[in-house]
Amino acid sequence: MLLQLHEPGQSPAPHESDRGLAVGIDLGTTNSVVAVARDGTAEVLRDADGGGLIPSVVHYSDDGSVIVGTAARERLLDEPDRVVSSIKRLMGRGLEDVKSLAGTLPYTVEPSPEGGMVRLRVAGRVLTPVEISADILRALKARAEEAQGKTVDRAVVTVPAYFDDAARTATKDAARLAGLEVLRLVNEPTAAALAYGLDNASEGLYAVYDLGGGTFDLSILRMEKGVFQVKATGGDAALGGDDIDHAIAEHFLAERAAKVGPHTITAGEAKQALMVARLAKECLSRSQGGDWVMEVDGKPSRHFLDRATLDSLSTPFVERTIAICRAVAEDAGIAVADIHGVVLVGGSTRMPLVRARVAEFFGKPPLADINPDEVVAVGAALQAEALTSGSDTLLLDVTPLSLGIEIMGGIVEKVIPRNTPIPVAMAQEFTTYQDGQTAMSIHVLQGEREMVDQNRSLARFILRGIPPMTAGAGRIRVTFTVDADGLLTVAASEQTTGVEQSVAVKPSYGLTEDEMAHMLRDSLEHARDDMASRLVAEAVVEARRSMLAVASALKADGDLLSDDERKAIDAAMELVERSTHGTDRDAVNAAVEGLEQATKGFAEKRMDRGIRQALAGVSVDRLDDALGGGA
């Protein structure tokens, strides 16, 4: 048997060819894009007409069939109650969150029975934003599979940097539902920087200004020799080009009311008005003015819009983005003059007003040589390749929002401040405030404000089993862990008595494991096979790691074994090798277990030798391994 050995920590993923393709996906509010990278060059996967954008619009039929993209968008006017758009705005949102968006959403929102994520009533079905997003992701997966003629089962999916924990979890769940393993959630501005950084080998401080349909993000990164270090990030999860569409539509409707008289408009007419408004906005990025026709109650009306009027309608929203740029720079202690370049991301940055204001604020013309609609997907694809095939590039991202806990008086005590590099784990100790208190309620919040009700509530849970003590004697340690995807886990334990009762929570406004299991069952028939084959793939990865480890050990210390011992290990290895060619997960696990048993005595001999050598002052490890790749 031939086994290749690699530098520690540098080895590429084993047997990469066994796996399906890994793609980069920009799951946008208005449009989505899928791209794939090979040898450091990313390619956006396009339709027959060369279009890279897939409208994030889904049409549901009574017979249960689903259409995604342009064809769905075309039905928006005729069948408004069967078509869903801008679903990204509802990811990880509860009914309370959605109230502020009331009237701006072109569909009926229903509360969930348990007060979790909102549900939508579409074509007689009740769907969660996760399921609808999963339908979009399935379409992207299908496009990639068709274009590449290969199974696509893993992806880097981008999210706005400012997405909170619930929205991130919801995005990951949607991918799972669509049969995609999320290699990493990457922040959109970071992905855009990656797309630029590799092409231009830029160094220094860069700002990424990302104005999409529904979200605004501003990130400041330091680029240096393949390291992308996010210094600060900020934004508004409910600010984007859609707001400008609404302002234009309202302007047209007010004009119309003045001319034709007031009229209550239907949901369908509102959608049409928004489409006309968007068309007008997009045309005015190239021309100075034009006429648009709108139809309400069967009566058409004609409206003129010029660049100056558009600019004055858009100014309040653009100024809000500039205020955020200023705040983020100040927060990071960075002078705007020290920023070397600004990268534009998102379709809304095509607006001349946006470009002019960004150039004015940063004092330099912004970079826009990569299509702003596609740059995020390009970066995501590059990262997907880096994660599966290895790369020297390194993304060091941060938490976008502070995380904390409610303390007495409805005040938030911060546990992890915003702009802390991730992954991170931080703990804080709290105490009991009543004699004999045996339980403590823990309320997890995300946001920058002092008071609980001004921040986003992520989760509530109760730590029970605290031994009764006098007030102030109990020591409750609450640990927040944020992983490289920006996802939070909270654990609490009582310290003084050694009674370590730990509770780990996943934030609310997501879906419970039960709901996910149910949806996975109900989703496409082969979803179950997807799950099963993923579990086999994981077991095989683990089995190959074991074989590689034993092979390395044999190479180093094989002289410790007698011929019979060696034969027994070789036989066990052979069994593992054979099991990895099948699809029986239990067989793989059993073979690995067998190998472990067969090498037990060998491991003991090796440890004895190691300790003897340590006693004799012989280092068992090379110094560079102990120190890592420092200097």
Binding site: P8, Q10, L387, D621, G628
Partner: protein
């Protein structure tokens, strides 16, 4: 070396089960990533434990370690390896965040020298001289009305912070731990003052 010490210096690698040095990041036999282990923030980043550090060197060390240990390097590996890499990256971030901030770095060094300074405590200032000085400076900042006035105060506060850092460095070099501790507490209040002055400068310059 005693047998006990020898068993502390090596332990079984979780992957190949053979001996691996307790401080090693990767097993030299099978290449598997190891857990972060208990070590101080300076050693973790391969730095000498001194107050004065070269920020460029610190960044280079941090990037170098993250390049090999960050979860992105292990995205396609087994769950156990992914978990260990996350622990390693978390430990590196904690070390970097502590060492890059002069105030946290000073407090951490003092803790290593068994001379803990409580930076979290927002309690009263026990040093009457420091208290008087801080009250006067706060008053000046509160009374500043023009951008020019606050800019002068802010620049002065920043200069004081830098001066205090130099004094701390000198105290550590002279191995005067008590003086270093006193100055670290002073640095805490000076930093807060400088932050407040900067915040007010930003507020006033926005008009």
């Amino acid at each position: 070396m005693s047998v006990a010490a020898a068993s502390l210096a090596v332990h079984p690698c979780w992957s190949c089960k053979g001996p691996v040095a307790t401080r090693a990041l990767f097993c030299s036999v099978c290449g598997a990533v190891q857990g972060p282990g208990a070590t101080d923030h300076f050693s973790r980043l391969g730095m000498v434990p001194t107050f004065e550090i070269d920020r460029d060197v610190l960044d280079r060390q941090y990037f170098g370690f993250q390049r090999r240990l960050h979860p992105d390097r292990f995205a396609a590996k087994s769950p156990k390896e992914r978990m260990l890499s996350q622990s390693q990256a978390t430990a590196l971030n904690e070390a970097y965040e502590t060492l890059k901030d002069p105030l946290k770095r000073a407090a951490y060094l003092l803790k290593m020298l068994d001379h803990a300074v409580d930076l979290g405590a927002c309690g009263t200032i026990s040093d009457p001289e420091l208290l008087m000085e801080q009250m006067e400076k706060r008053e000046e900042i509160a009374e500043a009305e023009t951008v020019a006035e606050i800019a002068t105060l802010s620049a002065a506060a920043d200069a004081e912070v830098l001066a205090c850092q130099c004094h701390i460095s000198a105290a550590f070099n002279a191995e005067d731990v008590d003086e270093a501790a006193r100055l670290t507490l002073r640095l805490k209040y000076l930093t807060k003052l400088a932050d407040d002055a900067r915040a007010k400068k930003i507020r006033l310059s926005r008009g």
